[in-house]
Symmetry: C2
Subunit: 291 residues, 2 copies
Amino acid sequence: MTIKNVTVLGTGVLGSQIAFQSAYCGFDVSAYDINDELLARAKKSFEGLAARYEREVRGAAGGPARAALGRISYWSDLGKAVSGADLVSECVPEKLGLKRAVYRELGAVAPEKTIFTTNSSSLLPSEMAESTGRPGRFLAMHFASEIWVHNTAEIMGHPGTDPDVYTAVVDFAVDIGMLPVELQKEQPGYVLNACAIPWMGAALKLLVDGVCDPETIDKVWCIDKASEGPFHNLDRVGLNTAYDIYAASSDPRLRAGARYVKEHYIDQGKLGQPTGEGFFTYPPPEASHHP
Amino acid sequence: MTIKNVTVLGTGVLGSQIAFQSAYCGFDVSAYDINDELLARAKKSFEGLAARYEREVRGAAGGPARAALGRISYWSDLGKAVSGADLVSECVPEKLGLKRAVYRELGAVAPEKTIFTTNSSSLLPSEMAESTGRPGRFLAMHFASEIWVHNTAEIMGHPGTDPDVYTAVVDFAVDIGMLPVELQKEQPGYVLNACAIPWMGAALKLLVDGVCDPETIDKVWCIDKASEGPFHNLDRVGLNTAYDIYAASSDPRLRAGARYVKEHYIDQGKLGQPTGEGFFTYPPPEASHHP
């Protein structure tokens, strides 16, 4: 399953970024949108992206970012846009009915070999799989905005996705410079939004309840938690304390989380940073300075 | 309300850090613990902290960190420990009954002028206020571990806290190099844990449900969300999308959050980064590079 030709459906903010990043990494990219006006706008977006890459991406200036523009072609005819496609990244608006209609049309005109990926942020691939006519060759590959900085690709199949197709898409993500995040099952919001939505919601409650203002909340978060993931933070809190917090939750899945922490860590004497080992291992403070 | 003499009750991990940071910033510090063995251990902690400050804090080497050690005295008699105290930082173990008992004893022996602050991370000041015998001079000032890096002080009164006392404590936090986070009302978990607990819980669910592993979750979080607070992230998501997410929540406080976003931002055409203004304002991408 060699991927050389990529078609991006929809040239909005993220669609343009995916198309440009793929072209920048050497792929031939067909940019599809529904009319010539949108394609003209897309062309301007790509020129803007080339300029940003030249300023912000190491090695992009002096040719490479410009060269990427030459690898992008423009199409408003779906059949022509995908006639040579090894992989499609679908970035059409976030409406289930629209996406299903696009997949029905796409499934009818695309070559048999073509892998379909959806960049949907809120729908599950299983909701669209049947419409594609080729569920085994369909899965989600989800990008973050400002793809050249936030270079993550969350990759999530549905139960019917062919494992070899999944692997080919992971390899493609690596080839366009992404960190592939391999989800083992369908999860609304993938990894990032599954964590971010409760986090932003909690902050919003503090604002609505009149506890604190957005500026202060963001500032204190950045001082205390910047560059730290949630599991690192659990280790920092200490796993005994984390257990106490979640064991008392009214949410059965959080109580299951507490039990997991107890069985896999606390019962083995791993309490996070206080003992030097938890989800991750930590050198003693002295050792990190006197190797 | 001049604060010069500080007494720290309890010389555990955070108690020692608060004591040392205060001494490092020029305050006279009385370190109290319940017996001489713990005080001997505290002395070793302070020496370890002095060494870490010398390595990690700009300007601490060559005298200042050592000088801080000379401003700390050691006490196992509570009355003597607080005889000259302008401010007490109480860092005894996180058990309500124990804290109340300590406050009853403290209230009886401390001078009238002394302000009491609790570093409790999970209790509310109103739960302890009466035990102090001086509820007006009592509030919470909560620190994060590795105080010299994570230099935040969350300051939270109960309904009976004297506003002048609150202000004096905010000033003290600034004087020991902290960013004071002023909470306008009592909030379990303050700001940081109120945001971090749902965030860590969501990550724990992904692990327990077999969606993804801790290493990958932390890595993708750090790539995509590093150095970004929750409100900045709401602006990045776009406030229309944020509204859709929280308006559909089963939690009435999150639905109130959605309404707040609509009334204060969306209805004014402020959609976050897509329009350049939301909780914060954003220069257009070009402008930030060509001033």
